[in-house]
């Protein structure tokens, strides 16, 4: 129950970010062609929305397994070796989060103490850029969960998207349409 709420919350936030980015650019284009005016801050806002979507969504992607990787080697390993290799990979991933996170902290501290704002919008730069730190913490959290699952034997590798399998959903759908049509004509 709790995880369902978190799930739909994450999906909702990402969807809203994506939708507002799209609409913002759409409105800006329409304003420019239809009414010959522009929205000065639109570009900067869109770019930051996209940045938030990616950094916020990257951790969600680890949870649902939408990231891609090269699994040719780990797939042929024995389950136990595979768990060890993945464990090492997850720890390396945690190192990545720590390093970038630390860098982000130092950077944010500097920007905060200078107190500058974004170029076109009156938003403090440290607020707009804080997503880098937040994102890294979220990714680290997901990696820790994965690490725990690997230690306890619930998982044995990164969840990976299988694009070929995803596309099969479309194949099923078209087959259904064809079947329905044949039913009609018969």
């Amino acid at each position: 129950m709790f995880s369902r709420i978190i799930n739909s919350l994450e999906e909702g936030i990402i969807a809203i970010l994506l939708a507002s980015m799209t609409l913002l650019v759409f409105v800006e284009v329409t304003a420019r062609f239809g009414f010959n005016t522009g929205v000065m801050w639109a570009q900067e806002l869109t770019l930051h929305l996209s940045c938030w979507m990616v950094m916020f969504g990257a951790s969600y992607g680890i949870k649902i397994g939408s990231h891609i990787g090269v699994d040719a080697l780990v797939r042929i390993l024995k389950p136990k070796t595979r768990r060890i290799v993945t464990g090492i990979a997850v720890i390396a991933g945690l190192a990545y989060c720590t390093l970038i996170g630390m860098g982000a902290w130092v950077y944010l501290e500097k920007v905060y103490s200078i107190g500058i704002e974004l170029e076109d919008m009156a938003i403090p730069k440290w607020v707009a850029h804080s997503i880098l730190l937040i994102g890294m913490i979220l990714i680290a959290w997901r990696l820790l969960v994965l690490l725990w699952e690997i230690i306890t034997g619930k998982a044995d590798g990164f969840k990976m998207i299988d694009e070929a399998k995803e596309s099969m959903r479309l194949a099923e759908e078209t087959k259904k349409i064809m079947a329905a049509q044949e039913g009609d004509s018969a």
Binding site: E11, I14, A15, L17, L18, M21, T22, V25, F26, V29, F33, Q43, T46, L47, S50, C51, V54, G57, A58, G61, I64, S66, H67, I68, G69, V70, D71, A72, L73, V74, V85, A89, V90, A92, G93, A95, Y96, L99, I100, G103, A104, Y107, H129, L132, G157, M160, I161, E163, A164, E166, S167, M168, L170, A171, E172, E173, T174, K175, K176, M178
Partner: protein, 466 residues
């Protein structure tokens, strides 16, 4: 030393199966920390800049969103009907029509495996029924599905544009003609084969039916016209065109085609004797009623979820790959490799052979966008020194990536084709092989006749008076 560390680390990380994005980021960060004086904060800032300062890259989520709305079985069906009515009456027409349908659906959906799944699951069965060998049907579909990344709008081209800071609009212009040439080549071979093994032609459906299917398909076709028209005409940037196409795709999918959303299954015309006034009034009312419900409809939510998943994955890889490219350039690695290769006295055509072989091998193991991100920063400066046009290089890279989609072990199209035909991978590889050789011939032509890629961008420049 730095070069070796960077690549060895990347290789090791990728082998553990970690997400490519993290592998790229971590190998760059460690290399910077060991070998350069850059502070850790500047690395974080670089990653942030990669995410928030490239307006062109925003075209990626928008195009993915627009294709998610139109990648439905219903759209595939309409495009196939249109394609069959266009070329079906020629000998071998059903196979030609599937090539044409793949070209159109690929341009709309932008994804190779999705094209194979949607078009393939309809036409392969149809072709077998009309007496085509199953191997030929599967092979044709498997190959023509790859056209998706060559015919604009194409995600790998946007990635190349971002990696090399070339104009995405010019790449989109450059990809169009090669895409058509490839399609025509496939159709020509199909025609010859059809003559030899005596394949049937479909009956001509009549002018009225032709107009009707064209009109139905034109809503989807308009998307390509809007996007390419506004980009080629210099009216809008690829990012803006992509945002417009996403909104357009939403409207078409939900209110016109009614493949998803609150109006799904509601017919435009309930019975033969419904009067025109009543049709207009009823549909107008239904549409207005459906607008608020369409926003939070489960179908809309699913499209957004699917699209954002892919977009985030790609953009996160790109951001980390830019960190990787940053290490490459600050360590002057491409420059060193360039000098090394220049030292061999390699002529441009020799360099292009090396490029093709390298990319074909890499294409067997990794996703197109990831390969382009890693290879483009290295190949680009060398190509410039040898006088090869960067746009031309981009097209060569994309064609190589196409071939990677139909060669084992990671050729996605092979797996999808295996899935829809129910045969094993080996059978599909054998079925695709003769058609793959056409793709290889095409690669040679594209590599050594740069005019095919450069004609359209130069012609448009000429029109604008440069």
């Amino acid at each position: 030393m730095t070069t070796i560390t960077l690549f060895v680390l990347l290789f090791l990380f990728l082998l553990t199966g970690m997400p490519i994005a993290i592998g790229l980021g971590l190998s760059s960060v460690t290399t910077i920390l060991f070998f350069s004086n850059d502070s850790i904060a500047s690395i974080a800032l670089k990653l942030l800049e990669a995410l928030s300062e490239h307006y062109t890259l925003l075209a990626i989520p928008f195009f993915i969103l627009s294709s998610a709305f139109l990648s439905t079985g219903g759209v595939a069906k309409r495009i196939i009907d249109f394609a069959i009515n266009c070329v079906g009456w020629i000998r071998g027409g059903l196979a030609m029509a599937s090539v044409l349908a793949c070209m159109i659906f690929a341009a709309v959906s932008g994804s190779s495996p999705a094209t194979v799944a949607a078009i393939g699951s309809i036409v392969i069965a149809g072709m077998i029924k009309s007496g085509y060998p199953e191997k030929m049907a599967a092979g044709v579909i498997c190959n023509s599905g790859t056209l998706g990344i060559l015919i604009p709008p194409s995600i790998p081209m946007l990635v190349y544009a971002a990696a090399t800071e070339e104009s995405a609009a010019r790449l989109f212009m450059a990809g169009f003609l090669p895409g058509c040439v490839m399609g025509l080549m496939l159709m020509l071979v199909i025609y010859v084969v059809a003559r030899v093994i005596k394949l049937p032609a479909q009956p001509w459906v009549g002018f009225k039916a032709f107009i009707r299917t064209t009109a139905t398909a034109s809503w989807g076709l308009m998307l390509i016209v809007i996007v390419l028209g506004s980009i080629y005409g210099g009216i809008a940037s690829p990012t803006e065109a992509a945002a417009v196409s996403a909104v357009y795709a939403f409207l078409i999918a939900i209110f016109v085609y009614r493949d998803m959303g609150p109006l799904k299954g509601v017919p435009w015309r309930t019975s033969k004797d419904e009067s025109i006034a009543s049709i207009v009034m009823r549909n107008l009312g239904q549409t207005i009623m459906a607008v608020p419900r369409s926003i939070n409809h489960p179908d809309t939510r699913r499209v957004f979820r699917d699209a954002s998943k892919v977009a985030i994955m790609l953009l996160f890889i790109i951001a980390n790959a830019m960190l990787f490219a940053h290490v490459l350039t600050t360590e002057r690695i491409p420059h060193q490799i360039a000098e090394l290769i220049m030292g061999w006295g390699l002529p441009p055509w020799g360099f292009l052979i090396v490029v093709n072989i390298l990319l074909l091998i890499a294409g067997n193991f990794m996703e197109p966008s990831a390969i382009i991100l890693i290879m483009a920063p290295i190949l680009f400066p060398i190509a410039l020194k040898l006088g090869i046009d960067p746009i031309h290089l981009g097209i060569i890279m994309v064609v190589n990536m196409e071939i990677g989609m139909i060669t084992p072990p990671v050729g996605l199209n092979l797996y999808v084709t295996a899935g829809i035909t129910g045969h094993d991978i080996l059978w599909v590889v054998k079925a695709a092989f003769p058609w793959l050789s056409i793709l290889l011939v095409f690669l040679v032509i594209i590599t050594y006749v740069p005019q095919i890629s450069l004609f359209l961008p130069e012609f448009i420049d000429h029109l604008k008076g440069y």
